[in-house]
Amino acid sequence: MPDVIRAEKLVYSYSGNDRRSLNGFSLSVRQGEFLALLGHNGSGKSTLARHLNALLEVQQGELTVAFLNAKDPGNVWKIRERTGMVFQNPDNQFVSSVVGEDLAFGPRNFGVPEEEIPGRIRRALAAVDMSGYETHSTHLLSGGQKQRIAIAGVLASEPDILIFDEVTSMLDPEGRRDVLDTVARLHEEGKTVILISHYIEEAVGADRVALIHDGQLLAAGTPREMLTDLDLLRRTGLTPPVPVRLYYDLRSRGLQLPFCPLTCEELEDLLCRLN
Protein backbone atom coordinates (compact mmCIF):
# COMPACT_ATOMS: atom_id res chain seq x y z
CA MET A 1 0.00 0.00 0.00
CA PRO A 2 1.38 3.41 -0.91
CA ASP A 3 1.81 6.17 1.66
CA VAL A 4 -1.25 8.37 1.50
CA ILE A 5 0.25 10.85 3.95
CA ARG A 6 3.93 11.64 4.20
CA ALA A 7 5.24 14.27 6.59
CA GLU A 8 8.95 15.05 6.69
CA LYS A 9 10.58 17.26 9.29
CA LEU A 10 7.57 19.51 9.75
CA VAL A 11 8.22 22.60 11.81
CA TYR A 12 5.49 24.97 12.88
CA SER A 13 5.19 27.77 15.38
CA TYR A 14 2.11 29.92 15.85
CA SER A 15 2.57 33.62 15.25
CA GLY A 16 3.60 35.52 18.36
CA ASN A 17 4.90 32.36 19.99
CA ASP A 18 8.53 31.28 19.99
CA ARG A 19 7.73 27.73 20.99
CA ARG A 20 7.67 25.27 18.14
CA SER A 21 4.39 23.34 18.19
CA LEU A 22 5.85 20.97 15.63
CA ASN A 23 9.58 20.50 15.84
CA GLY A 24 10.77 18.28 13.02
CA PHE A 25 7.84 15.89 12.93
CA SER A 26 8.06 13.02 10.42
CA LEU A 27 5.50 10.29 9.81
CA SER A 28 4.04 8.26 6.97
CA VAL A 29 0.57 6.78 6.85
CA ARG A 30 -0.37 3.96 4.48
CA GLN A 31 -3.58 3.96 2.52
CA GLY A 32 -6.38 2.26 4.47
CA GLU A 33 -4.41 2.30 7.71
CA PHE A 34 -5.88 3.03 11.14
CA LEU A 35 -3.35 5.16 12.93
CA ALA A 36 -3.78 6.38 16.49
CA LEU A 37 -1.78 9.45 17.36
CA LEU A 38 -1.30 9.85 21.09
CA GLY A 39 0.19 12.67 23.05
CA HIS A 40 -0.60 14.79 26.08
CA ASN A 41 -2.09 18.30 25.84
CA GLY A 42 0.15 20.70 23.99
CA SER A 43 2.24 17.98 22.37
CA GLY A 44 1.42 19.20 18.86
CA LYS A 45 -1.32 16.71 17.97
CA SER A 46 -3.89 19.26 16.85
CA THR A 47 -1.31 21.35 15.03
CA LEU A 48 -0.40 18.27 13.02
CA ALA A 49 -4.07 17.50 12.35
CA ARG A 50 -4.58 21.01 10.99
CA HIS A 51 -1.67 20.51 8.63
CA LEU A 52 -3.21 17.32 7.28
CA ASN A 53 -6.32 19.22 6.26
CA ALA A 54 -4.40 22.19 4.86
CA LEU A 55 -5.89 24.42 7.55
CA LEU A 56 -2.35 25.46 8.45
CA GLU A 57 0.30 26.29 5.90
CA VAL A 58 3.53 24.30 5.94
CA GLN A 59 6.25 26.58 7.33
CA GLN A 60 9.18 24.19 7.10
CA GLY A 61 9.53 20.61 5.92
CA GLU A 62 7.64 18.52 3.38
CA LEU A 63 4.07 17.25 3.43
CA THR A 64 2.03 15.23 0.99
CA VAL A 65 -1.60 14.46 1.76
CA ALA A 66 -3.69 12.24 -0.49
CA PHE A 67 -0.69 12.19 -2.84
CA LEU A 68 -0.92 15.98 -3.20
CA ASN A 69 1.81 18.39 -2.21
CA ALA A 70 0.41 20.44 0.66
CA LYS A 71 2.87 23.27 -0.02
CA ASP A 72 1.20 24.03 -3.35
CA PRO A 73 -1.57 26.58 -2.64
CA GLY A 74 -3.48 25.22 -5.64
CA ASN A 75 -3.96 21.92 -3.82
CA VAL A 76 -5.62 23.32 -0.68
CA TRP A 77 -9.23 22.66 -1.71
CA LYS A 78 -8.44 19.30 -3.25
CA ILE A 79 -6.80 18.22 0.00
CA ARG A 80 -9.77 19.41 2.03
CA GLU A 81 -12.12 17.48 -0.19
CA ARG A 82 -10.11 14.26 0.16
CA THR A 83 -9.52 14.56 3.91
CA GLY A 84 -12.40 14.99 6.30
CA MET A 85 -11.76 16.39 9.72
CA VAL A 86 -13.94 16.03 12.80
CA PHE A 87 -13.30 18.28 15.78
CA GLN A 88 -13.68 18.04 19.54
CA ASN A 89 -16.86 19.99 20.19
CA PRO A 90 -19.79 18.87 18.04
CA ASP A 91 -21.75 22.04 18.84
CA ASN A 92 -19.12 24.18 17.17
CA GLN A 93 -19.20 22.27 13.90
CA PHE A 94 -22.81 22.66 12.82
CA VAL A 95 -23.76 25.36 10.34
CA SER A 96 -27.43 24.50 10.47
CA SER A 97 -29.68 23.34 13.25
CA VAL A 98 -31.26 20.77 10.92
CA VAL A 99 -29.32 17.56 10.34
CA GLY A 100 -30.00 17.22 6.61
CA GLU A 101 -29.20 20.86 5.95
CA ASP A 102 -25.95 20.62 7.84
CA LEU A 103 -24.90 17.50 5.95
CA ALA A 104 -25.47 19.28 2.63
CA PHE A 105 -23.02 22.03 3.57
CA GLY A 106 -19.79 20.22 2.61
CA PRO A 107 -20.95 18.74 -0.71
CA ARG A 108 -22.41 22.12 -1.74
CA ASN A 109 -19.11 23.82 -1.00
CA PHE A 110 -17.25 21.27 -3.09
CA GLY A 111 -19.66 21.81 -5.99
CA VAL A 112 -21.45 18.47 -5.88
CA PRO A 113 -24.51 18.64 -8.19
CA GLU A 114 -27.67 19.39 -6.19
CA GLU A 115 -29.47 16.23 -7.32
CA GLU A 116 -26.65 14.05 -6.00
CA ILE A 117 -26.77 15.52 -2.50
CA PRO A 118 -29.81 13.70 -1.02
CA GLY A 119 -28.23 10.34 -1.87
CA ARG A 120 -24.98 11.37 -0.23
CA ILE A 121 -26.80 12.51 2.89
CA ARG A 122 -28.63 9.19 3.10
CA ARG A 123 -25.42 7.20 2.72
CA ALA A 124 -23.56 9.35 5.25
CA LEU A 125 -26.33 8.93 7.84
CA ALA A 126 -26.41 5.17 7.24
CA ALA A 127 -22.64 5.02 7.75
CA VAL A 128 -22.94 6.52 11.24
CA ASP A 129 -26.03 4.43 12.01
CA MET A 130 -28.40 7.40 12.13
CA SER A 131 -30.61 6.83 9.11
CA GLY A 132 -33.84 8.81 9.04
CA TYR A 133 -32.51 11.75 11.06
CA GLU A 134 -32.55 14.19 8.09
CA THR A 135 -35.20 16.47 9.54
CA HIS A 136 -34.12 16.29 13.18
CA SER A 137 -32.89 19.33 15.02
CA THR A 138 -29.22 19.16 16.05
CA HIS A 139 -29.99 20.88 19.37
CA LEU A 140 -32.11 17.99 20.55
CA LEU A 141 -29.54 15.19 20.01
CA SER A 142 -27.31 13.63 22.67
CA GLY A 143 -23.59 14.37 22.66
CA GLY A 144 -22.69 11.07 21.00
CA GLN A 145 -25.41 11.53 18.38
CA LYS A 146 -24.22 15.07 17.68
CA GLN A 147 -20.68 13.86 17.14
CA ARG A 148 -21.89 11.09 14.83
CA ILE A 149 -23.82 13.70 12.82
CA ALA A 150 -20.63 15.77 12.67
CA ILE A 151 -18.86 12.69 11.29
CA ALA A 152 -21.68 12.22 8.77
CA GLY A 153 -21.27 15.88 7.79
CA VAL A 154 -17.70 15.10 6.85
CA LEU A 155 -18.58 11.79 5.17
CA ALA A 156 -21.09 13.53 2.90
CA SER A 157 -18.13 15.03 1.03
CA GLU A 158 -16.88 11.43 0.54
CA PRO A 159 -13.26 11.86 1.67
CA ASP A 160 -10.68 9.03 1.60
CA ILE A 161 -8.89 10.11 4.74
CA LEU A 162 -10.64 10.81 8.03
CA ILE A 163 -9.00 12.74 10.84
CA PHE A 164 -10.61 12.63 14.26
CA ASP A 165 -9.19 15.32 16.52
CA GLU A 166 -10.07 14.35 20.12
CA VAL A 167 -13.62 13.62 19.05
CA THR A 168 -14.57 11.77 22.22
CA SER A 169 -13.21 14.10 24.87
CA MET A 170 -16.52 15.87 25.44
CA LEU A 171 -18.73 12.78 25.40
CA ASP A 172 -20.18 10.53 28.07
CA PRO A 173 -19.01 6.87 28.11
CA GLU A 174 -21.92 5.69 25.98
CA GLY A 175 -21.47 8.40 23.38
CA ARG A 176 -17.77 7.69 23.35
CA ARG A 177 -18.31 4.02 22.64
CA ASP A 178 -20.78 4.76 19.83
CA VAL A 179 -18.38 7.20 18.19
CA LEU A 180 -15.42 4.82 18.50
CA ASP A 181 -17.50 1.97 17.03
CA THR A 182 -18.35 4.26 14.13
CA VAL A 183 -14.68 5.11 13.63
CA ALA A 184 -13.73 1.43 13.61
CA ARG A 185 -16.46 0.62 11.12
CA LEU A 186 -15.39 3.38 8.77
CA HIS A 187 -11.88 1.97 8.84
CA GLU A 188 -13.20 -1.48 7.99
CA GLU A 189 -15.00 0.04 5.02
CA GLY A 190 -11.64 1.12 3.63
CA LYS A 191 -11.11 4.68 4.86
CA THR A 192 -7.72 5.79 6.07
CA VAL A 193 -8.29 6.79 9.70
CA ILE A 194 -6.18 9.00 11.92
CA LEU A 195 -7.48 9.08 15.47
CA ILE A 196 -5.94 11.75 17.63
CA SER A 197 -6.46 11.35 21.33
CA HIS A 198 -5.05 11.52 24.79
CA TYR A 199 -7.15 8.58 25.94
CA ILE A 200 -4.77 5.71 25.61
CA GLU A 201 -7.50 3.04 25.60
CA GLU A 202 -8.79 4.38 22.29
CA ALA A 203 -5.55 3.38 20.56
CA VAL A 204 -5.82 -0.33 21.38
CA GLY A 205 -7.84 -1.16 18.26
CA ALA A 206 -5.58 0.76 15.86
CA ASP A 207 -3.25 -0.80 13.28
CA ARG A 208 -0.44 1.40 14.45
CA VAL A 209 0.19 3.81 17.29
CA ALA A 210 2.33 6.92 17.00
CA LEU A 211 3.46 8.80 20.08
CA ILE A 212 4.04 12.52 19.76
CA HIS A 213 5.88 14.60 22.33
CA ASP A 214 7.06 18.21 22.12
CA GLY A 215 6.25 18.39 18.43
CA GLN A 216 8.30 15.33 17.54
CA LEU A 217 7.50 11.73 16.76
CA LEU A 218 8.78 9.79 19.75
CA ALA A 219 7.99 6.31 18.51
CA ALA A 220 5.58 4.39 16.29
CA GLY A 221 4.64 0.73 16.23
CA THR A 222 1.90 -1.76 16.95
CA PRO A 223 -0.41 -0.98 19.88
CA ARG A 224 1.21 -3.85 21.81
CA GLU A 225 4.72 -2.52 21.29
CA MET A 226 3.79 1.03 22.18
CA LEU A 227 1.25 0.65 24.94
CA THR A 228 3.10 -1.92 27.02
CA ASP A 229 6.33 0.08 27.09
CA LEU A 230 6.09 1.86 30.43
CA ASP A 231 9.22 3.88 29.93
CA LEU A 232 8.11 5.17 26.54
CA LEU A 233 4.65 6.08 27.81
CA ARG A 234 6.12 7.88 30.79
CA ARG A 235 8.30 9.95 28.49
CA THR A 236 5.21 10.82 26.39
CA GLY A 237 3.37 11.89 29.51
CA LEU A 238 0.66 9.24 29.19
CA THR A 239 -0.71 6.74 31.68
CA PRO A 240 -0.61 3.10 30.50
CA PRO A 241 -3.91 1.21 30.04
CA VAL A 242 -5.30 -0.38 33.21
CA PRO A 243 -4.44 -4.03 32.25
CA VAL A 244 -0.84 -3.02 31.53
CA ARG A 245 -0.53 -1.19 34.83
CA LEU A 246 -1.99 -4.17 36.65
CA TYR A 247 0.44 -6.53 34.92
CA TYR A 248 3.45 -4.53 36.04
CA ASP A 249 2.09 -4.02 39.55
CA LEU A 250 1.51 -7.76 39.94
CA ARG A 251 4.95 -8.49 38.56
CA SER A 252 6.61 -6.11 41.01
CA ARG A 253 4.87 -8.02 43.77
CA GLY A 254 6.27 -11.30 42.55
CA LEU A 255 3.45 -12.68 40.37
CA GLN A 256 4.91 -13.81 37.03
CA LEU A 257 2.45 -13.73 34.15
CA PRO A 258 3.21 -15.23 30.71
CA PHE A 259 2.50 -12.00 28.77
CA CYS A 260 1.35 -8.42 29.23
CA PRO A 261 -2.37 -8.03 28.48
CA LEU A 262 -3.53 -5.00 26.52
CA THR A 263 -7.29 -5.20 26.90
CA CYS A 264 -9.60 -6.23 29.70
CA GLU A 265 -10.54 -9.36 27.71
CA GLU A 266 -6.91 -10.43 27.52
CA LEU A 267 -6.52 -9.76 31.21
CA GLU A 268 -9.54 -11.95 31.95
CA ASP A 269 -8.10 -14.78 29.84
CA LEU A 270 -4.80 -14.48 31.60
CA LEU A 271 -6.32 -14.56 35.05
CA CYS A 272 -8.52 -17.53 34.17
CA ARG A 273 -5.49 -19.43 32.95
CA LEU A 274 -3.81 -18.91 36.32
CA ASN A 275 -6.59 -20.78 37.97
Partner: protein, 263 residues
Protein backbone atom coordinates in the same frame (compact mmCIF):
# COMPACT_ATOMS: atom_id res chain seq x y z
CA UNK B 1 -32.93 24.87 27.62
CA UNK B 2 -34.67 27.94 28.96
CA UNK B 3 -37.05 30.18 27.09
CA UNK B 4 -35.57 31.18 23.78
CA UNK B 5 -35.62 34.78 22.66
CA UNK B 6 -36.28 33.92 19.04
CA UNK B 7 -38.36 31.35 17.30
CA UNK B 8 -36.31 28.34 16.45
CA UNK B 9 -36.87 26.23 13.40
CA UNK B 10 -39.16 23.27 14.01
CA UNK B 11 -39.28 20.78 11.16
CA UNK B 12 -42.83 19.83 10.21
CA UNK B 13 -44.89 19.20 7.13
CA UNK B 14 -47.28 22.09 6.60
CA UNK B 15 -48.41 24.36 3.78
CA UNK B 16 -46.22 27.12 5.18
CA UNK B 17 -43.19 24.86 5.65
CA UNK B 18 -43.38 23.76 2.03
CA UNK B 19 -43.32 27.28 0.57
CA UNK B 20 -39.99 28.39 -0.87
CA UNK B 21 -37.88 30.48 1.51
CA UNK B 22 -37.62 33.52 -0.71
CA UNK B 23 -41.37 33.50 -1.38
CA UNK B 24 -41.94 33.45 2.38
CA UNK B 25 -39.52 36.33 2.94
CA UNK B 26 -41.22 38.40 0.22
CA UNK B 27 -44.64 37.58 1.68
CA UNK B 28 -43.36 38.73 5.06
CA UNK B 29 -42.29 42.06 3.53
CA UNK B 30 -45.68 42.49 1.85
CA UNK B 31 -47.52 41.74 5.10
CA UNK B 32 -45.26 44.23 6.86
CA UNK B 33 -46.32 46.91 4.36
CA UNK B 34 -49.93 45.95 5.03
CA UNK B 35 -49.58 46.11 8.83
CA UNK B 36 -47.91 49.52 8.97
CA UNK B 37 -50.64 50.91 6.72
CA UNK B 38 -53.42 49.73 8.98
CA UNK B 39 -55.17 52.52 10.88
CA UNK B 40 -58.59 51.25 11.88
CA UNK B 41 -59.75 48.90 14.62
CA UNK B 42 -61.51 46.47 12.23
CA UNK B 43 -58.29 46.48 10.22
CA UNK B 44 -56.35 45.20 13.24
CA UNK B 45 -59.11 42.68 13.83
CA UNK B 46 -58.49 41.31 10.35
CA UNK B 47 -54.75 41.14 11.04
CA UNK B 48 -55.29 39.22 14.25
CA UNK B 49 -57.42 36.72 12.34
CA UNK B 50 -54.84 36.48 9.55
CA UNK B 51 -52.02 35.91 12.02
CA UNK B 52 -54.04 33.23 13.80
CA UNK B 53 -54.66 31.61 10.41
CA UNK B 54 -50.92 31.67 9.62
CA UNK B 55 -50.08 30.07 12.96
CA UNK B 56 -52.72 27.43 12.31
CA UNK B 57 -51.52 26.74 8.77
CA UNK B 58 -47.90 26.40 9.93
CA UNK B 59 -49.06 23.94 12.60
CA UNK B 60 -47.15 25.58 15.39
CA UNK B 61 -48.41 26.11 18.89
CA UNK B 62 -49.66 29.61 19.74
CA UNK B 63 -47.18 29.63 22.63
CA UNK B 64 -44.24 29.25 20.26
CA UNK B 65 -45.56 31.87 17.86
CA UNK B 66 -46.48 34.47 20.46
CA UNK B 67 -43.94 33.66 23.17
CA UNK B 68 -41.30 36.20 22.21
CA UNK B 69 -43.93 38.91 21.75
CA UNK B 70 -45.47 38.19 25.15
CA UNK B 71 -42.06 38.34 26.83
CA UNK B 72 -41.68 41.91 25.57
CA UNK B 73 -44.63 43.07 27.67
CA UNK B 74 -42.54 45.61 29.60
CA UNK B 75 -41.22 47.04 26.36
CA UNK B 76 -44.77 47.37 25.09
CA UNK B 77 -45.77 49.03 28.33
CA UNK B 78 -43.05 51.64 27.93
CA UNK B 79 -44.03 52.30 24.29
CA UNK B 80 -47.64 52.73 25.29
CA UNK B 81 -46.74 55.08 28.13
CA UNK B 82 -44.40 57.21 26.02
CA UNK B 83 -46.93 57.58 23.23
CA UNK B 84 -49.76 58.31 25.65
CA UNK B 85 -47.86 61.07 27.42
CA UNK B 86 -45.76 62.66 24.71
CA UNK B 87 -47.48 62.05 21.38
CA UNK B 88 -49.70 65.11 21.16
CA UNK B 89 -48.90 67.80 23.69
CA UNK B 90 -51.26 70.33 22.00
CA UNK B 91 -54.56 68.80 23.06
CA UNK B 92 -54.03 66.81 26.27
CA UNK B 93 -56.53 65.62 28.87
CA UNK B 94 -54.40 67.06 31.62
CA UNK B 95 -51.04 68.69 31.75
CA UNK B 96 -48.68 67.78 34.59
CA UNK B 97 -44.94 68.53 34.58
CA UNK B 98 -43.63 67.13 31.26
CA UNK B 99 -46.51 64.67 30.85
CA UNK B 100 -49.48 65.50 28.68
CA UNK B 101 -51.56 62.36 28.07
CA UNK B 102 -54.03 62.63 25.21
CA UNK B 103 -56.58 60.51 23.39
CA UNK B 104 -54.55 60.71 20.17
CA UNK B 105 -51.51 59.52 22.11
CA UNK B 106 -53.39 56.56 23.54
CA UNK B 107 -54.58 55.50 20.07
CA UNK B 108 -51.10 55.95 18.62
CA UNK B 109 -49.58 53.89 21.45
CA UNK B 110 -52.04 51.06 20.98
CA UNK B 111 -51.35 51.09 17.25
CA UNK B 112 -47.59 50.87 17.65
CA UNK B 113 -47.91 48.05 20.16
CA UNK B 114 -50.38 46.19 17.95
CA UNK B 115 -48.11 46.53 14.92
CA UNK B 116 -44.98 45.36 16.67
CA UNK B 117 -46.87 42.49 18.27
CA UNK B 118 -48.32 41.35 14.94
CA UNK B 119 -45.00 41.64 13.15
CA UNK B 120 -43.24 39.65 15.87
CA UNK B 121 -45.86 36.93 15.70
CA UNK B 122 -45.67 36.74 11.91
CA UNK B 123 -41.89 36.73 11.77
CA UNK B 124 -41.96 33.96 14.38
CA UNK B 125 -44.10 31.91 12.02
CA UNK B 126 -41.48 32.56 9.33
CA UNK B 127 -38.56 31.57 11.58
CA UNK B 128 -40.21 28.48 13.00
CA UNK B 129 -41.24 27.20 9.57
CA UNK B 130 -38.02 27.93 7.66
CA UNK B 131 -34.76 26.02 8.10
CA UNK B 132 -31.77 28.31 8.71
CA UNK B 133 -29.95 27.34 5.54
CA UNK B 134 -33.13 27.77 3.51
CA UNK B 135 -33.42 31.20 5.06
CA UNK B 136 -29.78 31.91 4.17
CA UNK B 137 -30.43 30.91 0.59
CA UNK B 138 -33.56 33.03 0.47
CA UNK B 139 -31.74 36.08 1.79
CA UNK B 140 -28.91 35.46 -0.62
CA UNK B 141 -31.33 35.18 -3.49
CA UNK B 142 -33.17 38.37 -2.59
CA UNK B 143 -29.91 40.24 -1.94
CA UNK B 144 -28.18 38.93 -5.05
CA UNK B 145 -29.12 41.90 -7.27
CA UNK B 146 -27.04 44.01 -4.85
CA UNK B 147 -23.97 42.01 -5.92
CA UNK B 148 -23.79 44.31 -8.92
CA UNK B 149 -22.87 47.17 -6.60
CA UNK B 150 -20.41 45.03 -4.64
CA UNK B 151 -22.52 43.85 -1.69
CA UNK B 152 -21.35 40.36 -0.55
CA UNK B 153 -24.84 38.89 -0.43
CA UNK B 154 -23.77 35.31 0.33
CA UNK B 155 -21.53 36.38 3.18
CA UNK B 156 -24.20 38.54 4.82
CA UNK B 157 -26.72 35.74 4.57
CA UNK B 158 -24.30 33.19 6.08
CA UNK B 159 -23.36 35.49 8.96
CA UNK B 160 -27.01 36.08 9.81
CA UNK B 161 -27.96 32.44 9.69
CA UNK B 162 -25.02 31.25 11.80
CA UNK B 163 -25.69 33.99 14.34
CA UNK B 164 -29.31 32.91 14.64
CA UNK B 165 -28.44 29.24 14.92
CA UNK B 166 -25.99 29.86 17.78
CA UNK B 167 -28.44 31.75 19.96
CA UNK B 168 -29.75 28.66 21.81
CA UNK B 169 -26.20 27.39 22.40
CA UNK B 170 -25.07 30.70 23.84
CA UNK B 171 -28.21 30.93 25.92
CA UNK B 172 -27.53 27.56 27.45
CA UNK B 173 -23.96 28.56 28.12
CA UNK B 174 -24.98 31.81 29.80
CA UNK B 175 -27.36 29.83 31.95
CA UNK B 176 -24.60 27.41 32.97
CA UNK B 177 -22.20 30.20 33.86
CA UNK B 178 -24.95 31.97 35.77
CA UNK B 179 -25.64 28.84 37.78
CA UNK B 180 -21.96 28.32 38.46
CA UNK B 181 -21.61 31.88 39.70
CA UNK B 182 -24.77 31.67 41.78
CA UNK B 183 -23.28 28.60 43.42
CA UNK B 184 -20.29 30.70 44.35
CA UNK B 185 -22.39 33.47 45.83
CA UNK B 186 -23.22 35.84 42.95
CA UNK B 187 -26.51 37.64 43.57
CA UNK B 188 -28.57 37.76 40.39
CA UNK B 189 -31.82 37.80 42.32
CA UNK B 190 -30.97 40.64 44.61
CA UNK B 191 -33.62 43.38 44.54
CA UNK B 192 -30.88 46.01 44.65
CA UNK B 193 -29.98 47.22 41.18
CA UNK B 194 -26.36 47.78 42.13
CA UNK B 195 -25.95 44.14 43.26
CA UNK B 196 -27.59 42.96 40.08
CA UNK B 197 -25.31 45.05 37.87
CA UNK B 198 -22.26 43.86 39.79
CA UNK B 199 -23.35 40.26 39.24
CA UNK B 200 -24.00 40.64 35.52
CA UNK B 201 -20.64 42.09 34.58
CA UNK B 202 -18.57 39.01 35.51
CA UNK B 203 -21.16 37.01 33.58
CA UNK B 204 -20.60 38.91 30.36
CA UNK B 205 -16.86 38.37 30.18
CA UNK B 206 -16.86 34.55 30.15
CA UNK B 207 -19.88 34.48 27.83
CA UNK B 208 -18.09 36.69 25.32
CA UNK B 209 -14.86 34.73 25.62
CA UNK B 210 -16.74 31.49 25.06
CA UNK B 211 -18.56 32.97 22.07
CA UNK B 212 -15.27 34.02 20.47
CA UNK B 213 -13.79 30.59 21.06
CA UNK B 214 -16.84 29.01 19.46
CA UNK B 215 -16.63 31.37 16.50
CA UNK B 216 -12.99 30.42 16.04
CA UNK B 217 -13.70 26.69 16.13
CA UNK B 218 -16.72 27.01 13.86
CA UNK B 219 -14.77 28.94 11.26
CA UNK B 220 -12.10 26.24 11.38
CA UNK B 221 -14.72 23.51 10.94
CA UNK B 222 -16.41 25.40 8.10
CA UNK B 223 -13.12 25.85 6.29
CA UNK B 224 -12.34 22.18 6.75
CA UNK B 225 -15.63 21.41 5.05
CA UNK B 226 -14.72 23.51 2.06
CA UNK B 227 -16.36 26.85 2.81
CA UNK B 228 -14.66 29.70 0.98
CA UNK B 229 -16.96 32.60 1.68
CA UNK B 230 -18.23 34.73 -1.13
CA UNK B 231 -15.24 34.22 -3.39
CA UNK B 232 -16.56 30.83 -4.31
CA UNK B 233 -17.95 30.77 -7.81
CA UNK B 234 -21.06 28.96 -6.71
CA UNK B 235 -23.40 29.12 -9.63
CA UNK B 236 -26.45 28.40 -7.61
CA UNK B 237 -29.55 27.54 -9.52
CA UNK B 238 -32.49 28.60 -7.46
CA UNK B 239 -35.55 26.41 -7.87
CA UNK B 240 -38.35 28.26 -9.68
CA UNK B 241 -41.39 29.33 -7.67
CA UNK B 242 -44.15 26.74 -7.51
CA UNK B 243 -47.86 27.49 -7.93
CA UNK B 244 -48.23 27.62 -4.15
CA UNK B 245 -45.43 30.21 -3.90
CA UNK B 246 -47.05 32.43 -6.52
CA UNK B 247 -50.42 32.02 -4.87
CA UNK B 248 -49.04 33.01 -1.46
CA UNK B 249 -47.29 36.05 -2.97
CA UNK B 250 -50.45 37.07 -4.81
CA UNK B 251 -52.58 36.77 -1.67
CA UNK B 252 -50.12 38.75 0.45
CA UNK B 253 -49.78 41.40 -2.25
CA UNK B 254 -53.57 41.69 -2.47
CA UNK B 255 -53.90 42.08 1.32
CA UNK B 256 -51.11 44.66 1.44
CA UNK B 257 -52.58 46.59 -1.50
CA UNK B 258 -56.02 46.57 0.08
CA UNK B 259 -54.73 48.08 3.32
CA UNK B 260 -52.63 50.68 1.49
CA UNK B 261 -55.65 51.73 -0.58
CA UNK B 262 -58.10 51.89 2.33
CA UNK B 263 -55.70 54.23 4.05
Amino acid sequence: MRQLPVGLYQPADSVIHRLSGSAKLLCMLLLLIGVVNTTTLPGYGIWVLLTALLIRLARISPGTALGSAVRLKWFFGVILFMNLCFYQPEDPWVRWWIFSPSYAGLIQGIQVVARVFLLLAMSNVLMVSTAPLVMTDAMERLLSPLRLIGVPAGLIAMILSVAIQFIPTLFEETDNIRKAQTARGARFDSPRLWDKAKAVLPLLVPVFLAAFKRADELSMAMEARGYRGDTQSRKKKYPPFQTADWLALLLCAAVAAAFVMIR
